[in-house]
């Protein structure tokens, strides 16, 4: 087919879709301006995507509706009309396609333009009047998105054109379209997994549609989305994906048979139909997942479920190829394979690029809170830094050094309206002592737009920079900056900033921006975006309370519950002489059951009696309203395990717990006692040496 353009056809096609563009533009403006009211502080980032995504959907609806209407009502007449006009088929095809591409370009440009005033508005709402340089990060991202949308649009339109040529009726058009989108979506959902290893050990988690639906479903039912392991959800998704793929394959097969039969029977339009083209499309659709699944299999990716699809797809492709061979279309077969490879390569390349940039498909979620924890740690490697650090500790604060640890990986959990997602990121620092690890920064800086993600002191990055400038050199550390993007993913910005690395005795140098490793879900609520009380309230009301009530209900409805109660008195960080007066608590743990309202202890260290009269109190403590705890209140963290699945932690006043459990005095572990004695011995030796000198 020769690439020829007919100006008249081009102009006409462009003109015919003018209304779609106008409507899209108006819709884009309205959505862009209204989206700045988004309550969770993410307007800066999200406004760029919100109108684009929504308006794009609108445009597609228009496009599809138009196409279906044409197929349903006008296809025959339209093509009869066009085919009599003095323009070749090639001219019609390429000119129309070019016009559609132009439309797409105009649409995206115009929509992008509508975002700019919305962004200014959002900026103003969030951070007051605009300041010079505020939008300096914005344009590159904008352009990047524009290019991506354009490329996706281009591919989509090309395929749409092919489908249009293939389809005979509105129904077949719709089925082909859905088939293609389904296949394409499957491909897109697989690629991010396949390219993890190319993404510098970090890639945004791709949230597929099924994944989202699953999470949404869990949230709606107020179940345990927040504690469900991501792996389980992925497995569920995987299963559904297999079913969808199978269904898709069967549908395509049936449709293929039907269309090839109809291509001979259809009265009008038989000339435009090319059943070989249909085969090509089918093979393309089925070849992508096959190639990509094989690809992931070779790389040893964990995404193994879809591998079951491989034999099915091989059979399908073999079937199509055999049909093609039978019709002696060897050139088409080669062309088909070539096209498949080319297209798959193109998509993979784009996705690889995306993965590199820590991006994912443009979808957004509402991040409410974030929890950070260290999953494991090992030995420190940088002795020089460590020595200097210890020297500072010992000289300035007279603090002993007993253990040296390094966190290698940090787990960050993002809580969104749709569920939680876990990210594992590598840390590039850390030299810490076991005793003070709770206060040592995690080595990353997280922000949401320009807001520090977890902070109680800083409202903006500029404010933090002012603070950071005051930090002495010895506690400066360059750490990578991650930010929560509007897609609900965690992205690495490629920048580094200076942070304070030490918080000694919660004095002198504060590090409120750093990730802490002791966040509990309850804390996370109050450590969400500082000015966003609405988000915190939302999280508390919609997530915490339903969870709590569900558990309450479960326990009350079922009189026999296995409950594991782990009681731990708050352990002081430092066992120095100076803090000798602090309490040392022993971790208590026991398993118990509630049978017919009677609490029975089953196992656990030490003997803990639990009088029946305190049963009601225990219920209140565990499941009832939380006690008011002031800063001076000595608290004990209580973690309740139900059926070894759920963890629920809260703080209760130690006195009350003592009363309930008849807790008796000091129950320090042997190790703690040994360390304390060792420290006392060392102190005495030092004193003796001092006296000696």
């Amino acid at each position: 087919m020769k690439l020829t353009i007919n100006k008249s056809v081009y102009r006409d096609s462009l003109r015919r879709t003018r209304m779609v563009r106008i409507v899209s533009l108006l819709a884009g403006i309205v959505i862009a301006m209204s989206s700045t009211d988004y309550p969770h502080g993410d307007a800066y980032v999200s406004t760029g995507l919100a109108p684009m995504g929504t308006a794009a959907v609108g445009m597609l609806v228009f496009l599809f509706a138009g196409e279906i209407a044409i197929h349903y009502y006008r296809r025959r007449r339209k093509w009869d009309f066009f085919r009599t006009l003095p323009a070749s088929r090639a001219e019609w095809y390429w000119s129309s396609l070019l016009a559609e591409i132009t439309n797409m370009a105009i649409y995206i440009t115009v929509t992008e333009l509508t975002v700019i005033p919305a962004s200014f508005r959002a900026e103003k709402r969030l951070e007051g009047n605009l300041m010079p340089g505020k939008l300096r990060i914005y344009p590159p991202e904008h352009i990047h998105r524009w290019i991506l949308l354009f490329v996706i649009g281009l591919v989509f339109l090309a395929v749409l054109s092919v489908i249009r040529e293939l389809a005979h009726t509105a129904a077949s058009y719709l089925v082909l379209l859905l088939g293609f989108i389904g296949g394409y979506w499957m491909v897109l959902s697989l690629i991010p997994r396949a390219v993890r290893s190319y993404s510098g050990n970090f890639v945004s988690v791709y949230a597929s549609l099924f994944y989202r639906m699953r999470l949404l479903h869990r949230i709606v039912l107020a179940t345990d989305a927040y504690n469900a392991p991501t792996k389980n959800l992925e497995t569920a998704y995987d299963t559904i994906a297999i079913l969808v793929n199978l269904l898709l394959a069967v549908l395509l097969l049936l449709l293929g048979r039907r269309l090839t039969k109809r291509s001979e029977t259809e009265y009008i339009g038989a000339e435009y139909r090319n059943k070989s083209l249909f085969y090509i499309l089918c093979v393309l659709i089925n070849l992508f997942p096959l190639l990509l699944i094989s690809y992931t299999a070779i790389l040893g990716n964990e995404y193994t479920g879809n591998l079951l699809m491989v034999p099915v797809l091989i059979v399908l492709i073999a079937y199509f190829l055999l049909r093609l061979f039978r019709e002696k279309l060897s050139k088409r077969i080669l062309g088909c394979i070539g096209l498949s490879v080319l297209l798959a390569g193109g998509i993979t390349a784009v996705t690889l690029l995306y993965a590199r940039l820590g991006r994912t498909i443009p979808e957004r979620e509402d991040v409410i809170a974030m929890r950070c924890e260290h999953s494991f740690y090992g030995m420190v490697s940088d002795e020089e830094i460590l020595d200097r650090f210890y020297a500072v500790l010992e000289n300035e604060h007279d603090h002993p050094v007993t253990e040296r640890h390094e966190y290698r990986e940090m787990k960050i959990t993002l809580y969104t309206k749709y569920g939680c997602r876990e990210f594992f990121i590598d840390r590039d620092i850390t030299e810490v002592t076991n005793d003070i690890r709770r206060d040592v920064p995690g080595g990353v800086f997280c922000s949401y737009g320009k807001k520090p993600l977890i902070s109680t002191q800083f409202d903006s990055f500029e404010e933090y920079e002012t603070f950071a400038a005051l930090l002495p050199d010895w506690c400066r550390k360059e750490v990578p900056v991650y930010y929560v993007n509007a897609l609900g993913g965690l992205s690495k910005s490629g920048k580094t900033i200076n942070i304070g690395v030490i918080d000694l005795y919660r004095a002198r140098i504060q590090t409120p921006l750093m990730m802490q490793n002791s966040f509990s879900p309850q804390n996370a609520v109050y450590c969400s975006f500082p000015p966003d009380t609405e988000a915190a309230a939302y999280y508390h009301e919609k997530v915490c309370l339903p969870q709590k009530r569900a558990k309450e209900k479960a326990v009350r409805e079922n009189p026999t519950q296995k409950i594991t109660v782990v009681l731990r008195k708050e352990e002081d960080t430092y066992n120095s002489e100076r803090y000798k007066e602090r309490w040392y608590y022993t971790v208590l743990s026991f398993t118990a059951t509630i049978e017919n309202g009677t609490f029975r202890q089953k196992s656990g260290p030490g003997t803990v009696t639990f009088p029946e009269e305190y049963l009601k109190t225990m219920y209140d403590v565990i499941f009832g309203p939380e006690e008011t705890i002031t800063a001076e209140t000595e608290t004990v963290m209580v973690t309740v395990m139900i059926r070894d699945e759920e963890a629920y932690s809260f703080f209760v006043p130690a006195e009350k717990l003592k009363e309930i459990l008849q807790y008796s005095g000091d129950e320090r572990t042997a190790e703690q006692k040994r360390r304390e004695e060792e420290w006392q011995k060392r102190t005495e030796e030092q004193q003796q040496e001092g006296e000696g000198t």
């Binding site: 100006k7 008249s8 007449r77 339209k78 009869d80 003095p86 009265y267």
Partner: protein
Amino acid sequence: MITVKNITKTFDGTTALANLSCEIPDGRIYGLVGSNGAGKSTLLRVMTGIFRPDSGEVDFDGEPVYDNPAVKEQFVLVPDELYFLPGANMKRMAKFYRNFYPDFSMERFEQLTEMLKLNAGKPLSGFSKGMRRQAATVLALACRPKYYFFDETFDGLDQIMRDTVKKLIYEDICERGVTAVLTSHSLRELDNTCDELALLHQGKLVFSHEVENIKTATKKVQVVFAEDVSKEEFTKLCDGRCRAVRCEGRVINAILSEGAEETEAKIREKNPVLLEILPLSLEEIFTYEMEALGYSFDTDGKEGADETDDQ
């Protein structure tokens, strides 16, 4: 000249056109008639390059038409089911056509629009069926092509407008010597419109003659003999030149085709009590021809039940 050579077109095993050949000389009005499903529209679509034939070819002055924009510039098709660009009015359509047809005359367009009192600025979707047909005809005539193809040209037009449209086509033919191919179910329209007429049946060309020749070559006779003459005897008398014979008592009605004068002489030799030679309208010729081909319906809806038996 349009040359159609051995065209065959099938759809799902159904043969729409079977080895059909014909020639349409320049400067003529060529009518296509035939039963429903005879292949008139398919032939028109093949001739205008919408369909590619399974075999055979269509040439315009020796140039193939299929996917050939240069040839397509020479003709305009006004189809049975009209199509206009969505939301377009006549002015926009005129501009659209102007881009495709180098000889498009805006002057002619305006003149015809004014003559037919059509509102060129009004969206065509708001036009009535007849007005849409008029608009399509005006646009086609303004293109000033060498060939016109009209499918069911006069469908939806009132008598006055039919005459007007006919007049416009005649004018164009007289002025520029163009060729027009028309299909119509109304044989009366073609009767006094076409120079040449082709009858199609089941995808085949039954005949293609000049209209006047068809009319003069075919006559209807009504004969009453003094004695009884059976159908077989009468058929024998006519040497197989009668297309249809119907006997009602001693009254015989028959259609005579070629050599009607000779047959008439033979009948007169038999001294008939009454012999009347009646001219036939095109419609009647069509009906009789179709009956001869077995295409007729009795009152019970049975195809080919009555007249063929009488033959």
